[in-house]
Symmetry: C2
Subunit: 709 residues, 2 copies
């Protein structure tokens, strides 16, 4: 990882608090108080220009008075004084600035924020914030926040873009018995963003789960790269609000602008193996469950219940959360025959009936534990007279212990009154995964199974297909020289050729014989068009002929075009006749790519026309990506069966689509001045018969870096 | 309501318990104990053939010994003795039997169950169950269940098909402080089903909310009718498991069999105005909130928050739960200017910032309360140092009180640690709607808004369009006489004609002149076909001609067909030549209807071909239905924009689709022997240009009642 500075944020040996206060209730006082409360292991240097003392410390009047190095300076002074403080920090060679102060870009004061970050960068300092509530790192027991003093230690790291929510989460996680390895408020993200923090957290032993609350992303491409690495080693959960607004924008707009939508964010997170929670509650439940349970050894889940109705609900939930239910009926019968007596069932859900006692549950669960073909268990219980609160608690506690010891995940969902509530309370205190609703338990198990899927997935190498970038850059140079940020049709064709993306075959000829020869080579029918800078409206001048089916028609056509054009535009200089393949009907698809300031570079695919426009049936992925990811993207659209061939039609040439998407992905990656590509339509034929990129639209940026403001 | 008997179930003056027991722990003992515990207001008659005594009662040895009338006999004896007990009950003229006993159809013992219900019906007795845990009715304090003794009284009525879940719900509702007006276990529903109970509950004052747990439905048509009535006066919430299984069946199968799917159930519930909860927890949260809050006066919701992030999440949730956010920016500024100070926002979400104190919340909420343009409020709070637990509790309690008094619904979603948890606990005890997640609060408000929408909706009269049922019945008679349960192509055309549903125009002629005359009348192009019972393969015999464009081609065609047929099938008797309109290309749609033993009669609509087959883009409604419901059905499909005209195409003749759906609905309603109709495709032209039903498939039942086993 190329980010050694970030370590100082999590493991500083000394922290200065610039803007410390003598007055309880003030932010500067609260931060010092919190640092002392949690017992920060390093040196604390409180600084206030006016001096003073509090909590056993005499304040320094300047950071420059500190004896020794300062790893982190926490700055909590009014915005207008921050720049000067940063200058002092530079003199002291502080490594990391955590700027609590607000009043910068979040209220439109971009300039001052930029001035500070530029100065800091120039002096080798990194900035967290500004506009944050601080940060906490369990590794050195540092609570440099003005939130709650008491933070529960554990293995979940939280990165939050919302201050209010972040502070509330400190209390919320404690109440839910979720321990934190760190919580970092990123605020305006003027320098340090999620990608920086993730690079550190991936390797930090203390952190087993990463939970991010995100409002907007930056440096998309880098974030995607880091996320892909992170999810291979530890679960990353993201909560992102703004689903609806962006969703609405997406729905209202055309293809191109879909790329800024929540749908894109969602697709990219899935591609990266990130779990996206809908609500905070769901994110916290997942965090807790994942932090206490390891990934199962296989996909097979089983439901054990004393009530048929909740069993069916759990089955529904398993489909929703993508959990495979084990269904080797023979083996299930063998395993559970002895416990599903009477009116029970050995099928999955295994129903041990309302008569089931503690002993019956223990026996059934033990069978599931012992059976290596079963990888996860979702146990359900509807309160009956068969178990009292203590028995229920003991049964769950004991069986959870056994499962946990063996590393086989289990959840319990229990329904009932006071007796059940008592059991839940007792078990929650021990971090036993017991839930009040079937969906909650299954959702957690689904999250764990997703983690397994992500961790075992073989994604493959990034695609990189040869394209002629020199030729492409010449085309772009010429377009930009012409003051255009888009390509003309011919330029677009040139670009397709440079990518070896098949457009309609054809060329320009200057004799009847050459026309016939070319047409023979292309195959019939062909289209012929006059080539003349003097003839603007080719069709009106009789300069276009379609559906030419054989040599004779080409010969006649050649003459006809020459005659018509001379008759209609007498002085026109005719440069030649273009002979082009006439595109046959096939399945129309759209391929697109876009470079976006936030999301980075994304690839888009959908079936043409109404499928994209009306049915919004499109798939997105972040670039770079592997062929496996391209394949999964194509399969993701609802209309995918049309490519496989429905209603007696043949399978379409999906390999051609993959190849074209590889080329589009390579193109946008290697040519930074291209911001948008849309091939629409590409006509795809039957398997083995290829595809034709009929039309291409390309937008350019005149900024050499390819960045967009 | 035509169901006076059901009243005895809820308001019996006397209850006999057949199978009462002296032994604590036995079901027969538990039921008597529960009845006494809740203080049943009527007379109790415990019966056990062996005599005995318990809980202060001497048991009768037969129900016939009871002095006076018996309204309800609760029967809790082994299955094999139930019939004899029912016979005794008949002698005693018992009105209602609640058969707790299991061992009937649920284990395949259909015969005995049928014998009992037949006997009971013949003797004027109704049956609840068998295979139930009993029933509770707060009106007479009757707890005739073997579940928990203590049931919290209130205004929610629960009807449950799952015993285990039902028993657990008694405790669960008590824990969540949800009071019940009744809970009825319906078990095998051999006689009394949901529709019967709903008919009573609609009018019962004690019941404000009806909550149903359903696994399968019966008498669909009747249930739909009752549900539509019920939802106009009180909220009905349904939980139905088996989403996934049926969903999978639907996905795997073709159009016709989609009608048995969960998608159909879902559509019908929405049509009836029923709220469908995904999980038990959601159903209970809705029940509680709806039972304490009345429907808002209008749709406008507002979010008030001290944190921007949760505000955006609430906005997302509002879209999910279909809550309109008030957005008159000018008025919002006027109303909230004084409270959204500093970095706050008067936009919706109204952000009163992390600096907001108790007084700020009170002021902001008071503004919302006073503004008549705001109909519902969703208040959010992230724990800050600005309010302690007591202040938070007081603020919410006080403001909820004011809102409640004015009848304006409000929810509170709060995030935080111990302080917040303390407030939640205190407020839950008072039934104040305070939630731990944004989505939970907004979900409840969404449910309340849905209730408002349902209650104010003008559905309109049921469609009934004239069709010639005599002609249709003749066609069916002839098909059934021919031992077929499907119609042939010509019969299908006859049926279309009898409905005045436009198929291709045409007729049979016997001369060239008549052919020309008819073709002129139809309009060109036309198709001509030989009519001869001797020629099975018309095309092979040269008996079919397409694309006849003018009089000359018709004249030639007539001769050609006669010649070809005579040449190919020399002895064939030619009965005439059919001249038919050649169907022009247009938008293909599918209309269907099906009579189903469970769901009742349903209507189906979708766009033809891949839209139905691949995209599963179909809409369903229960029949009978109004034109408004037909319109909403058409609009519901995702491909609806294609009917409105996309990509420069003209609007399609939607009125023709409505008319055709009205006819199909009328047909399946008025002709009970038809079980399935599918018009596929119907080709729809531009607005004003009508539609053509090209092909119709009709299945019949030879049972005069039209019922299906």
């Amino acid at each position: 990882m190329n980010n050694p500075d970030i370590k100082y944020l999590f493991e500083p040996e000394s922290v200065a608090v610039i803007g410390v206060s003598q007055e309880p209730g003030k932010i500067g006082y609260k931060i010092l108080e919190n640092m002392l409360y949690m017992g920060y292991t390093g040196k604390i240097h409180p600084v206030n220009p006016k001096g003073g003392s509090a909590l056993g410390y005499d304040f320094l009047t300047s950071i420059e008075e500190v004896d020794g190095d300062v790893d982190v300076a926490v700055i909590a002074i009014p915005a207008r004084f921050v720049y000067d403080a940063v200058v002092s920090c530079a003199k002291k060679k502080v490594k990391m600035l955590a700027i609590i102060s607000s009043g910068f870009s979040e209220i439109g004061n971009l300039e001052e924020e930029q001035r500070i970050v530029n100065y800091a960068k120039a002096h080798g300092m990194r900035i967290l914030g500004p506009n944050i509530f601080g940060h906490y790192s369990s590794k050195v027991s540092l609570n440099a926040t003005f939130g709650p003093a008491d933070i529960r230690k554990g293995n979940v790291a939280i990165i939050t873009q919302s201050g209010a929510l972040g502070i509330a989460m400190i209390g919320k996680t404690a109440v839910q018995n979720i321990g934190l390895s760190s919580i970092i408020s990123v605020g305006n993200k003027t320098d340090i963003n999620e990608a920086d923090l993730l690079e550190y957290l991936i390797e930090q032993e203390e952190t087993k789960i990463i939970l991010m609350y995100v409002e907007g992303i930056q440096e998309g491409e880098r974030l995607v790269k880091v996320l892909k690495q992170a999810t291979k080693v530890k679960p990353v959960i993201v909560i992102k609000s703004g689903r609806s607004k962006r969703g609405a924008v997406a729905a209202a707009s055309h293809t191109g602008s879909l790329a800024g939508s929540d749908k894109v964010f969602d697709a990219i997170m899935r591609q990266c193996g990130v779990l996206r929670a809908e609500s905070i509650q769901e994110a916290l439940e997942w965090s807790k469950f994942l932090s206490h349970n390891s990934v199962p050894e296989g996909p097979n889940g089983i439901i054990i219940t004393n009530g048929g109705g909740v069993g069916v609900m759990a089955t529904d939930a398993c489909e929703k959360y993508d959990i495979k239910l084990y269904d080797d009926q023979e083996k299930l019968r063998e395993t559970f025959e002895s416990v599903a007596h009477g009116f029970g069932s050995t099928k999955n859900p295994v129903d041990i009936t309302g008569e089931a006692s503690k002993a019956d549950y223990v026996k059934a669960l033990q069978e599931a534990l012992d059976d290596d073909a079963i990888h996860t268990v979702m146990a359900l219980y509807c309160e009956t007279a068969m178990m009292n609160s203590q028995e229920l608690t003991e049964m769950i506690d004991e069986m959870y212990g056994k499962f946990h010891a063996k590393g086989k995940p289990i959840t319990f969902s229990v329904f009932g009154g006071e007796r059940t509530e008592e059991a839940i309370t007792a078990l929650h205190a021990k971090n036993v995964p017991v839930y009040r609703d079937v969906y909650d338990g299954v959702s957690c198990m689904g999250a764990l199974q997703s983690i397994r899927t992500v961790q075992i997935a073989e994604v493959g190498d990034e695609v990189a297909t040869p394209i002629d970038t020199d030729a492409i850059n010449k085309i772009i140079d010429s377009a930009l020289a012409d003051d255009r940020t888009f390509l003309l049709a011919e330029e677009g064709q040139g670009l397709l050729n440079a990518c070896k993306l098949t457009g309609p075959k054809g060329g320009v000829v200057h004799s009847v014989n050459a026309a016939v020869e070319l047409a023979d080579e292309i195959g019939y029918p062909v289209v012929m068009k006059v080539v003349s800078r003097d003839i603007l409206h080719k069709s009106d001048a009789g300069g276009v002929l379609l559906d030419l089916d054989n040599q004779e028609e080409v010969i006649d056509g050649y003459q006809t075009i020459i005659h018509s054009c001379k008759a209609n535009v007498p002085n026109a200089v005719i440069d030649g006749i273009e002979v082009v393949e006439q595109i046959q009907a096939g399945t129309e698809v759209i391929l697109g790519a876009r470079r976006d300031a936030n999301f980075g570079t994304t690839l888009m695919f959908g079936l043409g026309g109404i499928y994209v426009e009306v049915m919004k049936d499109v798939a997105f992925r972040a670039v770079p990506l592997s062929q496996t990811e391209i394949r999964s993207m194509i399969k993701e659209i609802r209309s995918y069966p049309l490519l496989l061939g429905v209603r007696g039609e043949a399978r379409k040439d999906i390999e051609s689509i993959i190849e074209a998407l590889e080329k589009v992905a390579t193109l946008i990656k290697l040519v930074p001045r291209i911001t948008d590509i849309e091939i629409n339509p590409m006509v795809v034929y039957e398997q083995g018969k290829g595809a034709r990129a009929v039309d291409i639209r390309v937008l350019l940026s005149d900024d050499k870096e390819g960045s967009i403001s």
